[in-house]
Symmetry: C2
Amino acid sequence: MKYIVIFLFASIVSSAQITKEQLNIMPWPQNITLTEGSFLLTKNFKVNITGAPNERIFIGATNFLRRLDGRTGQFFQQGFVMGLNEVPDAQLQINCVRAAKIDLYEDESYLLEVTTNKITINATTDVGALHALETLLQLLQNNSNSFYFPTSKISDFPRFTWRGLMIDGARHFMPIDVIKRNLDGMAAVKMNVFHWHLVDDQGWRIEMKKHPKLIQMASDGNYYTQEEIKDVVRYASDRGILVVPELDVPGHASAILTAYPEIGSKVVKLNVNNGEKGQQFTQVQSYSVERNAGVFAPTLDPSNPKTYQLLGEFFDEICPLFPGKYFHIGGDENEGKDWDSNPKIQEFKKKNKLATNHELQTYFTMQLIPMLKKHNKVLMGWEEIMTKNMSKDAIIHSWKGSNEGMPAGKSLVDAAKGGYKTVLSNGYYIDLMLGVAEHYLVDPMPKNNTLTDEEKARILGGEATMWSELVSPATIDSRIWPRTAAIAERLWSNENVTDINNMRKRLDVISFRLEELGLTHLKSKEGLLRNISNNQKSEALLDLSNVCEPLKLYSRNKGGTEYQMYSPLTLFADACTPDASDAIGFDSAITNYLANKTDENQAAVANYLNKWVTIHKDLTALSNNAPLVQPLLPLSKSLSAIAEQLLLKISNKQGLDDSALYGLLEKCDSKEYADVELAVYNSLKKLVQAKI
Amino acid sequence: MKYIVIFLFASIVSSAQITKEQLNIMPWPQNITLTEGSFLLTKNFKVNITGAPNERIFIGATNFLRRLDGRTGQFFQQGFVMGLNEVPDAQLQINCVRAAKIDLYEDESYLLEVTTNKITINATTDVGALHALETLLQLLQNNSNSFYFPTSKISDFPRFTWRGLMIDGARHFMPIDVIKRNLDGMAAVKMNVFHWHLVDDQGWRIEMKKHPKLIQMASDGNYYTQEEIKDVVRYASDRGILVVPELDVPGHASAILTAYPEIGSKVVKLNVNNGEKGQQFTQVQSYSVERNAGVFAPTLDPSNPKTYQLLGEFFDEICPLFPGKYFHIGGDENEGKDWDSNPKIQEFKKKNKLATNHELQTYFTMQLIPMLKKHNKVLMGWEEIMTKNMSKDAIIHSWKGSNEGMPAGKSLVDAAKGGYKTVLSNGYYIDLMLGVAEHYLVDPMPKNNTLTDEEKARILGGEATMWSELVSPATIDSRIWPRTAAIAERLWSNENVTDINNMRKRLDVISFRLEELGLTHLKSKEGLLRNISNNQKSEALLDLSNVCEPLKLYSRNKGGTEYQMYSPLTLFADACTPDASDAIGFDSAITNYLANKTDENQAAVANYLNKWVTIHKDLTALSNNAPLVQPLLPLSKSLSAIAEQLLLKISNKQGLDDSALYGLLEKCDSKEYADVELAVYNSLKKLVQAKI
């Protein structure tokens, strides 16, 4: 009987022999070889660790067991991995030569070998081994009855050393659990730098024991305690992730100046009271926490010694919370308006022979370098800090591009040529709500560049930036994931890994697997739609959300004032995401159909159109008891109208004339309703224009 | 034009005049009067606060604004409520006479009046006002275009002063965000006691600065820091909730004894080594953190002075974290096995004239009273602590019932008669996976009791208990909610509010509204089913989950050893919940149909049956690429088979004979598959038995 069982398993498993193209690994490894065969997962599966790793490998291996068991329901006998060489005969053997340092340039490589009865991971460091465990989880396959790993050899290492994600905890506060689940997501796709934007016009988020005014006056009660920050840093370190804090100065300073108006640049006016007594008053300039989005005037006074005294004290309190080597001081978007109108500052510029506000800002930034050096920290700043006298020790964070009227990534090349280390974020602004393909094809290493090897080496990598003007803790995951996984691949994998369709196929699987980490990017939609529909079940509302995308490029928040930081983010646009799923599906159905008008391909197109023909009627019915559905009706009306005509067209039935048809099409190009756009417009246009 | 707009609004609103029966308030208020008219919500809606409240009202009012705006998308102009009388002409006026104390017997009453242009809340304390804000949120109505409050007068106060929820953070650790969102849920249904079970055989969860061994050796790294505990206490206090910590002694002590084996009761054995040298060794008894569920032997030694010394030190460190007056010391399920076999303890009993282990436990418990009194704390314990010499100051927590071979709630009456204050949990064990109706009808005040008024007054209220043997952070919400809202109603509302159908109708709405607090009870299912289905979309799987319920009364975890504390809780049983939605819907369809065999009623029944006829075919197809679906196939097979026959039966078509039909029916009564039961069995039986 035993033999029969073994034979059955063997035959089942071997029948599922798979190819590289079927694997859903992301980032794609540098080298992978599949052989014929498989390692069958059973409840006896155990992990053993040898070598001289940091303790983080035990946490990582235990989490690995829980995740694998959660996916497969094997009821593993091993509960925890607590120490070295606990189970010498375990099926999974992990060896790490030494403990990793959480820093750039660390060895993150690994070798993973799966044979039919054993899996081995060899890595120089525990961080490399953690990456291998993520790859192994992604390698998991199943047939109808079993879970298994295909026998294989993978050797892997990152292309860039800086693979970052920035989260803005200032504009909308993101509680610790949001940060932690996103750190888990980062680790799952082998990212290694968490850039934590902690201070901006809209709030100061770091508990300050020596300067409590900052949180008392400028946080609305929403801040990270020092204990919480240390906990996040530890949690990140356990996942091989370096934390880089950002305190944005000298601009974006409304929050700081709310607590310390005396270091602001705005000129102090004298008001004459023309009332009965004709007295003069000195008006003290006051600031307040900003509630809108945008670029604002409040700026630190670079001519005031107290500015530097306070900043030094801030750094003295903040730096010890972050053991990593890098500190981001922002430095962006300082327009210098308040400097221009302040005579004292103008005098200071003259006295110090600073010709422009840029030079004045450089003067300011240079004062911060020793304050940070005192704590063994290297200064990093947005590209605006790169002016002619800036220290070459500073790291330049390149962010401007066509939106800002600049050639994309120009500052990156300038920095590398100018002797600066540099990180690219232009092209990785995930808050712009662009499709994943737009980010995926952006490479930190410019194509056809003329950089020397030394200059190339200064390009550290890239970083996805999640600015939080329009996200809440309930929606931020769906703005970060899954697109950031594709950026992670760009930063880790070979530069030739650029097939978009293959990436999309893998991303679908990676995305659903990320859910096991507590990320809410997929399920947040359900709750939002429930609110919008007033708890009425509606396929139509879900269908509409699957063809709509939030307005892109900051056009959702016109002038930065439509949404205040306390405005509702529970609306239809919040339920929608970039890369609307049915829009992508419809576009490939259209492409197939236009290439080859088989019945099957026509049916695939008709399937979408039929769904949309009734969407307006259904949503109108829904709206009778759901005011939040009302703003969507113009969208559903346009979609139903064109769908009806296109169904006639593909069946060669008589519909409207071309001019009327184009009229209907153009109504689908609107950005006027519910802060979304119909993401099927371009695909519809292809069909309208096509000769059938 | 202005007039027309006003007229339109007025007509829209008045057309939606509603009745009390349409309201979805829970707990139902003591007194409510509706008048004809409504208060229309607009973006100008603002809140003003007067009187002398605690600061928590500002947090509560700000959260109220965010939640109301999130539901209605009005884009309120008011962002925050920060101080007294900020907006004297605001539409919502809240007056509180004084600050509440977070304690039992506090005045929690409120008066809420809605007129067409003004809403007023008057309350003695800010906690009463917070309750009023929750009622107001539940009062929200809408028509197709607007949101409004019906004009009304509500005066309200709680029936019982103890309206508790216990969460077990020991067996499965529940991170702070889980605790906080459940505190929000409690506040939404006016519960006021959070009982935090922090120590059990499976772990010690409190950071101990003076006794770090407890977390180093007995927490698996999962514990609440003292900062986090203080933060939770503050968060609870901001919501009017008292936190009662529990340290379970002298039984349930595996975790404590893992760190301090020297205070354990297990007898120390002398082993004779019969080897070459014939030496004798003293074997030190060691303990380890328990991984199974159940009742275990490890028990503190009540005869050892060090036990009391250590407990005193523990209390000295823990008590200051909890400003409330009550401290729960557990005291349950000590079987005394290790006491019986320990000669030293037997001698101690004799010396102190303690006839039984119960008396010995009372001796033990009595030693704790002064330790707690030192910190102004009253001792509370599970009913086992109530023995003849127990201090009358102790509060008795009644939990045993028919499962434990006791008349339900007997100890509650005994306690009240015996002079003890007491709280009921028997009947509120939400971890048993029973339907909401079973809990809803349990009243802390026994029907037809013969208690004097003084004795009745000792019955403080009740508490839902969420033991965590079989829940993870991802599933616990769906075990607590929405059922706990119905228990909250039992503890707040008039005893005559007992209509189950009306409760269910309201509970559906309350449940979906609880989502806005971040509770995951509804959306957790989606993610779990995605894992089970291996990311394949499947209506059939969802449909099956809507007629299945997790096995009840601890039968899921046979002997407490099937699931270890690290076993997967990502399975089908975890996706299912008590009160399976389609089971309830089907039962009422059956009831209607059997009462009145109209075409419409028949169609309603057929609608369910048609869904189930194909469920087995669909799930079989799904299982080809989803091993976790395999265990469900016997269930879907049984359901499809009977559905097919019953469809024939209700259409008066020839099907199987009765005996074969009963055979199919009984297959639906299985508890053998996937740790669930088909919750439609009883309804199916009604139809099988019926004459059509």
